[in-house]
Subunit: 482 residues, 2 copies
């Protein structure tokens, strides 16, 4: 066997980590190459995730999956596109944001807009009667992207839903506990879950004298109260939606109410505001059951019973909720959901009641990435445990034999892809990748059938036997502090 | 607090597992509902994965990721669609299989066809000089789907690539080791990796007298030798591609050669077949280096040096390889790859040489699912460790408090979503989901501040203290055989 042929390459590209140009550098390059090269960019509103971002993302996803599994959830996957008719009529005026595939003959398809509609289609199509499932996947909206705020055209959703005919408020309560567990798990700071009941809201509209055919329109006006002051919302109700002024003023008395769950419930009962409306007293009784369960679960302190919460989507039929961050500089929705008992029935023969939520995972990433940047946190992008270094020339085959034994023993190991790499370059790679242990092989080690082993955290070096060395390496790795 | 309101629901929908109708049931339902409901199906060539399939998939993906991480790989993610121009001119005549998004104003985009082209675009766009990355994601081809054979329009690819300027054949050898490790990891039986060198193949064409402008056409004819006999391929060369008959016969002498790597290498040298052609002797010398490394890695027994291997894609520039299953009833390609040193340069300013492979993961799933079905293997779809059961009525709040403590202790726990579930129904759920441990709470347990705990594998029941019970549960769980 002859000696390996060595390409004439320089040392400067030795390092294994990803080197990224700043975003600013891209347009310049693009301009230079315009003549004969394609545009170097991802489509508007989409982005690549680099290894650093992926490491943060996978940690967060793993933590959230842990919570889902703690509650017995299974997972499913559905196609990225659906028949267009599956999505039609589910998103109201937002339907204009749906991405269609080009008609290239055959079926007309669109990219999924959320994970809830495909879930309902799945449940109906497969005749599922009960399922507790999570689904973490990307969805697509031709919205105006604001990348710095975590608003994209292609983005992850992280959904959990319980479908099945169960007793009142039991799965609903578990969903609320899970939101609390997840938000504590991902460490984005203080939060609060605003909660309301669609039936109570409709009953309030009836009590105030809103005509039944204006319920949804007034509901969607109320939904704006988290961003606009009452005066503006009132104006929309009266001037745009033709509501009587005295009716609007009555609504204000209700939607300005928010408090600890049991406290506001008792106030609503004691005040007699809802007396005589059966839907309202039913909804209050249902909420009392829910609040009782939430007390057992020990999460009441996170819940705000808020009569101004309306939620945009039409398909909710029971409780609705929205988690918001309450810490400094962190305003806005971070998770939301509710009960929708009619959606599956729009596809299948059977109504399958369901309740669930969606975590605003992109906002969480934006917050975490900013924090990591601010704190200048080091993140390990790979999981390499051992780097095998040669001290002198012509030891490539010894290195290959060593890493090969490490891999067979299940140890994560790397080595330089150069035949005769310089020692500083090898040590540099190990150092920059935060690899905790290096194995050094030189001529003296070959002669004495030994290996030198250096633990990087304490810079201590020991000599071990070459024969069956991987057990010793595992032993040393187990003593390294994390 | 009042007692919870109980919906009038029956017991029969108690079970938590997914009930699925057979696929045959779907068209019937579809027909019945045609009038007012949408078609209940996924688009042609796509499919849902149910919890059982997802469990198998996640196990396989986790195993493969372990191999990638063992070799120090990082991961990236790219958008599901790219600018159409990014994909144009990369796939030859297969470009007609690309899915386009509808032109809804703005950029013209297409769904990704593979993960290699987006990777090359990523490397060029971000000025990456070195990266060892894996990417597991779905790709899209408007091909004729054969679902039973694992051929879909939306399917997973599982890619690994090493980009960077390194010494000859070192990363190439590691890729081949990794394919071996992965195929052993997923347990699909015996396999062999056919290997050839693009430059050697071109040199052979030159030696035989193929005109230089016919190299690629003749190469793509040779590529068919794994499916068609020589006579047919010869006919294509002569009649369709206008090759001289004597030239075709010379080619046959070469492409019929296959043997153990070093053995065939020595034969080619000893026979003098390649003498006088510098490209051929260079390629043989490169292969000698590779084979030496593969010996150090201990994988030579899996490699077949096969001069008939051509690989369809134009962009390969060095070694090419294809893993095939050799076990009974399992023919066909399961992984493939090679060196492509020019692709990144098509996007960016710099050429970044690269080598990599793609695992045919859908074929692996088809094989594994068939096996699981044949062996009637039980698969746990959820990870629930404890199911909390009530013996008598009106203990819902006790159950909620118990599961709540379990969750806080990080223990995966479930309970019935009915207020007063029947005992057999509860035990049935625990049994069908293979939950290893049940906690039983009845009036006597409440009175004595205790819990009854039953391990399902040995049906033994013990009584433990209610106070701080989770530590004891963890202890018991740790003794249960897996």
């Amino acid at each position: 066997m002859s000696e390996p042929i060595i390409d004439n390459v320089t040392d400067k590209v030795e390092k294994m980590e990803v080197k990224e140009k700043s975003k600013d550098a891209v347009p310049k390059e693009k301009k230079e190459k315009k003549s004969n090269k394609v545009q170097l960019k991802t489509p508007k509103g989409t982005q690549d995730y680099n290894p650093r971002q992926m490491t943060i993302r996978e940690q967060v996803f793993d933590g959230i999956k842990q919570v889902f599994k703690r509650h017995g959830a299974v997972t499913i996957e559905t196609p990225v596109f659906e028949l267009k008719e599956t999505l039609t009529g589910k998103y109201g005026e937002d339907s204009k944001l749906i991405y269609d595939l080009q008609d290239q003959g055959g079926e007309i398809c669109s990219l999924r807009y959320d994970l809830t509609v495909p879930f309902a289609r799945y449940v109906a199509m497969n005749g599922v009667l009960n399922i507790k499932r999570y689904h973490i996947a990307r969805v697509y909206r031709r919205d105006n992207p604001i990348m710095t705020k975590g608003r994209f055209r292609e983005f992850y959703q992280c959904d959990f839903d319980i479908a099945g005919t169960y007793d009142l408020m039991v799965p609903d309560a578990e969903c609320l506990v899970m939101i609390c567990e997840i938000l504590e798990q991902v460490k984005v700071g203080a939060f609060q879950i605003k909660l309301n009941h669609r039936k109570l809201l409709d009953a309030i509209f009836a009590i105030c004298g809103v005509p039944a055919d204006k319920f949804r329109a007034i509901c969607s006006a109320v939904d704006k109260l988290d961003k606009s002051p009452w005066d503006e919302v009132r104006k929309e109700m009266v001037e745009v939606k033709g509501l009587d002024e005295t009716v609007a003023d009555k609504i204000e008395k209700f939607v300005s109410l928010k408090d600890e769950p049991m406290k506001l419930l008792q106030h609503l009962r004691a005040s007699g505001m809802c007396d005589g409306n059966k839907d309202a007293t039913d909804a209050l009784s249902q909420l009392e059951t829910l609040f009782g369960y939430l007390e057992c679960f020990g999460v009441t302190q996170h819940i705000l019973f808020d009569l101004s919460l309306a939620r945009g989507l039409d398909y909710y039929t029971g409780i609705i909720y929205e988690a918001v961050l309450t810490g400094q500089d962190r305003v806005g929705s971070i998770a939301a959901g509710g009960r929708y008992d009619g959606l599956v029935g729009m596809y299948g023969k059977k109504d399958v009641p369901a309740v669930g939520f969606s975590i605003g995972i992109e906002r969480i990433f934006t917050i975490l990435e900013d924090e990591y940047k601010k704190e200048n946190k080091k993140i390990r992008e790979n999981a390499t445990q051992v780097f095998v270094v040669q001290m002198e020339k012509d030891l490539i085959k010894e290195r290959l034999a060593i890493v090969s034994e490490l891999w067979k023993a299940g140890i994560n190991a790397e080595f330089s892809y150069k035949v005769n790499p310089k020692l500083p370059a090898q040590l540099n790679t190990a150092d920059e990748s935060n690899i905790p242990l290096i194995i050094i092989i030189g001529k003296s080690e070959v002669e004495t059938n030994s290996l030198s082993v250096k633990t990087m955290h304490d810079r201590k070096q020991v000599s071990i036997e070459r024969l069956n060395f991987t057990d010793k390496i595992k032993e040393i790795l187990s003593t390294i502090p994390k």
